[in-house]
Symmetry: C2
Subunit: 325 residues, 2 copies
């Protein structure tokens, strides 16, 4: 089965590049309300399920015990840009649970935000684990280890109590036994279990249920602090600021997941080739196609379906756009 | 027509992402000796035809008049990393033809090489046009304008004598009238005319002819200085250093072109989705499949067909690999 083209890049009046992909939209009863492409194939959701990975932090009582704020919960769900506000919140979260930066197992990389990266370079400091886009999630996982009375060392291993609890929560939500699924190592060294788009969409639909207290807490936190989830200029932050009833999260290799709490819908999308640019406009296109918005919301979402491509002299050279399939 | 998968990314024992694409291999008589996918479709070759764009610089007598060295000719064919050696050669080339950096119309961006970029950031200087990966080509175009007695201003416009001469040379080589073709604006603001892969492969095959003096001069220059064409850690530089009988050049949006002078073959490849990572291993896979190498060369090329993917903690998480089609 060949997935359809969901995004394309134009230049000089023709299509220069094409991205194929698949997506599923589901409701909490498990009904697939819209889909294209191979939605039953195994795929790694990567960082798009950070909200699921955050569930045990709330459900275990760790969030309450350590007094986590909405900002800190939102940062647990983030692939952040390493901007000063992100570092401040990651360090506060670590400190509240009595954990040190030295316990991080996510590895170091330079901040994705250029101004923050250049400031760090000018300071002469090296990049550290706290700058890693996943440092909020890892601070949350370390808090969870503390809550469980488990050794912090090795908290990224698939057999550590932290990861076992996360796998159990995700598998239950998505209706799939993750022990039987392929498992990869993510960029930040935690396990990523393969979950088909169909199951991810159902999981995100269930995440919206009004009586799912832990999920409601996470949705409320992210809505209050969309900047924490990504940062300056990032798609997640921009679209959630523009349309607060949207809840979305990017994942590496062209994954996008999300939900629409007021409509009880979950969404999961994967670009075959792993391109983030296609996942962004593709997600906006899927969202815009759903009949659950006010005219103002639909107009706001539609602006994310395409954007001009400019070159180094700021000349417009083409367009990136989602394709209706 | 759906192009075949030419490269894939694995993680956790499964294929995580797939890249489709097309390629053509031709000889100088215009015969297609190997091909997959839509090789007659219009596409923009982007920077993969810098060697063609360099032809008029040699053929017009500009290279001789200004005494261009092999390093300078190689830099005309480069998408360089902005390393100190690249800047030195670009500035020397400008100076020889009496041109100033202020004449550049390529726009500015930070050096692609991290050490060079960080050194520039630490110095407090802004990035400039000379750091643009195309600054060698643009210095060559400015020298060509001087040689033609044309105004340097506007040398990037499609109707400027410099670009008219380049279009004529490329069209003639590839057997296509570029005046009838779609034309886009490249990242560095010069025109990029659409040329199907079939025609590009034939053009690169003709480029190898022993009696084509200007092309031989360019091939000799690039062979002598593969570092000039890209830089530290880059595929073009690495593969041409490992296998000196290969001549290849990357282009934006997943294009790769090249030729094998000793075998009289030209090659053109485009990844549908524009991914450079797929174009690199895809090009190595096409090269390795041709029966024109010594066993040592084939072994050296095959090492570029795949590489390990490691995460921020340097753990191996998967593999990027070209796919035989």
């Amino acid at each position: 089965m060949t997935n359809p083209v969901i995004a394309e890049v134009t230049r000089g009046g023709i299509v220069e590049s094409r991205h194929r992909g698949a997506y599923a939209v589901a409701d909490a009863s498990g009904h697939i309300v819209a889909a294209e492409g191979a939605i039953a194939a195994d795929m790694f959701p990567r960082s798009a399920v950070k909200a699921f990975q955050c569930l045990p932090i709330v459900e275990s009582g760790a969030a309450e015990r350590f007094g986590l704020t909405d900002e800190e919960i939102a940062l647990c769900c983030a692939s952040h840009n390493g901007e000063p506000a992100h570092l401040r919140v990651a360090r506060a979260l670590l400190a509240k649970a009595g954990n040190a930066e030295a316990l991080y197992e996510c590895g170091a990389h330079w901040p994705a935000d250029e101004a923050s990266r250049f400031a760090l370079v000018k300071s002469g400091e090296a990049c550290a684990a706290v700058h890693n886009n996943c440092s909020g999630k890892h601070a949350g996982m370390l808090a969870l280890a503390r809550q469980l009375g488990a050794a912090p060392h090795g908290y990224t291993r698939p057999d550590h109590p932290v990861q076992r609890l996360i796998a159990s929560a995700m598998g239950s939500l998505c209706g799939i036994d993750l022990d039987g699924q392929p498992v990869g190592v993510d960029g930040c060294s935690v396990p990523t279990w393969a979950i088909p788009l169909r199951n991810l969409a159902i999981g995100f639909a269930r995440f919206t249920k009004p009586d799912f207290a832990a999920a409601q807490r996470i949705i409320r936190a992210v809505r209050a602090h969309p900047f924490m989830v990504a940062g300056t200029g990032d798609f997640d932050t921009l679209i959630m600021e523009a349309v607060p009833r949207v809840f979305v999260k990017t994942g590496a290799e062209g994954v996008y997941c999300g939900c629409i709490p007021h409509a009880g819908l979950g969404i999961a999308l994967k670009v075959d080739d792993g391109a983030a640019r296609a996942a962004e406009v593709g997600m906006a296109t899927v969202l815009a196609g759903l009949g659950v918005w006010t005219p103002e919301e639909r107009a706001a979402i539609s602006r994310f379906r395409h954007h001009e491509l400019v070159n180094w002299r700021k000349l417009q050279v083409g367009e990136l756009r989602g394709v209706d399939v």
